[in-house]
């Protein structure tokens, strides 16, 4: 009987801690949104964060997008040869890149680069009591540290993803013409054949949500850092892991809520 009671208590404790962590995260997100009211604090930091989180992430995003486009073109050609006209290579590259690969791959890469960066930076600030100093000086850490990063992520992730889309389609075109002997006319025909502006809209909105999630998770893990350098490392790791998981969950969420049941507009 006592064993059963202990087991039930453990389950209850796990549940409580889970809901507690979830509630703390929601409260944190709500606080970050609330801090946007403090217009005297966060706008001044936003451009700096946009430069660090966004512009400086462009090379790695473009690098990944370039190889993604090349591989997609080759895979499409491998799959289509003999059965499907090769101009569908352009269609597949455009659709796959804009709807899925550019937002998700770029989001995952930025979860590693940006999320870990934010968590480590804020964690170190927490360990060195810089955040306590800010609070002493009547600065709200959420307004001063979190809101600029979240806004920068929200704005710059779509910019990075848009650039990645262009680079991926362009590299797919180069691979198609150079390696697959598909003419530019054929490739562009495939790209244009089923193109809808919704494809880009969907990818950019999705990437904005990824940006918000990555910066929020990184900030949350960084501000909750405990235990010195080890804690900072743990915060950075957990920020990357949670960001990656949430990106995939959000990807499925957008697909279910926005794509499911939607046909290509006529």
């Amino acid at each position: 009987m006592e064993t059963l009671t202990l087991a039930l208590a453990e389950v209850g404790s796990l549940t409580r801690r889970g809901f507690s962590a979830m509630g703390a995260s929601v409260r944190f997100a709500a606080g970050a949104v609330e801090s946007l009211r403090d217009l005297r604090t966060w706008p001044g930091q936003t451009m700096t964060q946009a430069l660090r989180l966004g512009v400086e992430s462009l090379p790695i995003a473009a690098f990944i997008a370039m190889f993604t486009g090349i591989v997609l073109a080759l895979l499409a050609s491998y799959s289509f040869t003999g059965a499907v006209p090769l101009y569908f290579v352009g269609t597949l590259v455009e659709k796959t890149v804009t709807l899925e690969l550019a937002p998700v791959l770029t989001g995952l890469v930025l979860a590693g680069r940006v999320g870990a960066n934010i968590a480590a930076e804020l964690g170190t600030m927490r360990m060195t009591e810089q955040i306590d100093a800010l609070e002493t000086l009547c600065y709200d850490p959420l307004s001063f540290l979190v809101a600029p990063r979240v806004v920068a992520g929200l704005l710059m992730f779509p910019v990075i993803v848009a650039a990645a889309m262009i680079v991926a389609v362009a590299s797919g075109w180069v691979a198609s013409t150079a390696l697959l002997h598909i003419s530019t006319v054929e490739f562009s025909k495939g790209v244009r054949l089923f193109f809808q502006p919704f494809d880009v809209e969907y990818g950019l909105v999705k990437s904005a949500s990824f940006g918000a999630v990555v910066t929020l998770v990184g900030s949350r893990r960084g501000l909750a850092t405990e235990g010195g350098a080890v804690g900072v490392g743990r915060a950075a790791t957990s920020a990357v892991v949670y960001s990656a998981i949430l990106i995939l969950v959000l990807d499925a969420f957008w697909a279910v809520t926005w794509l499911l049941g939607r046909q290509a507009p006529s």
């Binding site: 001044g44 700096t48 848009a162 262009i166």
Partner: protein, 334 residues
């Protein structure tokens, strides 16, 4: 430093936004400046045509479908955006049809005189010609419809084959072979009997001729004997008369033997003829009882009607295929 970072971020945002807008404009094939010409076509049904499908003139892509809208009275208006240099035929008609096996459709602009020879197509175009502000148009059947028609044709052929199979199944074929064999046997027997009969008749005729000659000679002898008998009363020719009677009796006996032999052969011939007639009666009895293909054809009117119906359907199918082959076979690739 802060101003510099602002400038860099602003530059990146502007460049990426400009590149994205340019790419979307290119992919959408947007008409910047409105230089392209707009053409509206009138349809009852647009099939699977979609916005963005190609508009083809003489095999060349000259524009895109810009919009598809429902119109009053059961019509559908299709707005097409054509390149500035594209010229329409004198009497343009728009046909919506599949351009590939993958569900792509296109709008093909042709001159009315170049329409396929299909009454239904011409009626549909005439029906759509009432609006002077729009081009008349109609949609051609897609691969799915063609497949359906092909399936119906295959079903008809299968039905015809089934009926033929029902009328001439294995049993009917065996009976037909048996009947043919019977007829062949009957023919051979008749030929053999005819040959034998001709030989017998020849022999009979020869023997009758010989018998007649013998009788004639006998009569002559009898006449001579009578004359001699008449004069025998005055001479010693009685002895010679007796001898002549002996000769005549011998010849009469031989003629009787020959006649007897002839009658025996006639009896044998009659027996063979009876056998032939019996075989014939057997075949006719089978036919009368409805056995065999001939019997079925003679006694079962439904079989005849089925065969006749099958031939009529085949004739109709062949006539339809000759008259309008494109109705049944029209496959276009891309």
């Amino acid at each position: 430093m802060k101003r510099a970072s602002d400038a860099v971020v602003g530059l990146v945002v502007l460049v990426v936004a400009l590149a994205t807008i340019t790419a979307i404009t290119w992919a959408r094939q947007a008409d910047i400046g409105g230089r392209r010409q707009l053409v509206v076509a009138h349809f009852r049904d647009v099939g699977n045509a979609r916005v963005g499908n190609a508009v083809v003139i003489r095999g060349v892509v000259g524009g895109r479908i810009q919009a598809i809208e429902l119109a009053p009275d059961g019509w559908v208006n299709v707005r097409m955006r054509l390149d500035p240099a594209v010229g329409l035929p004198a009497h343009p008609v728009v046909l919506l049809n599949e351009s590939s096996l993958f569900g792509d459709w296109q709008a093909t602009v042709v001159d009315r005189s170049a329409l396929p020879a299909d009454d239904a197509l011409h009626r549909a175009v005439e029906d759509a010609s009432h609006d002077s502000n729009a081009l008349p148009g109609t949609s051609l059947p897609g691969i799915g419809k063609l497949t359906t028609v092909a399936g119906q044709i295959a079903g008809d052929v299968a039905s015809v084959a089934s009926r033929v199979g029902t009328a001439f199944d294995d049993s009917a074929a065996r009976e037909l072979r048996s009947s043919i064999k019977n007829v062949a046997d009957l023919s051979a027997t008749l030929r053999s009997i005819a040959q034998e009969h001709a030989s017998d008749l020849d022999t009979l005729s020869d023997e009758l001729r010989a018998a007649m000659l013998t009788l004639a000679r006998t009569a002559t002898s009898v006449e001579q004997t009578a004359q001699r008998l008449d004069s025998a009363t005055t001479s010693d020719q009685a002895r010679q008369l007796v001898d002549n009677f002996d000769v005549a009796s011998i010849e009469l006996r031989r003629a009787a033997v020959q006649v007897h032999d002839l009658s025996r052969r006639l009896v044998a011939t009659e027996g063979r003829i009876d056998a032939v007639l019996a075989n014939g009666n057997s075949v006719l009895a089978k036919i009368d009882r409805g056995q065999g293909s001939l019997g079925l054809l003679v006694n079962d009117p439904s079989l005849y009607r089925r065969a006749d119906s099958t031939l009529a359907e085949l004739r109709a199918l062949a006539a339809a295929l000759r008259a309008n082959p494109k109705k049944y076979i029209s496959v276009r690739l891309f």
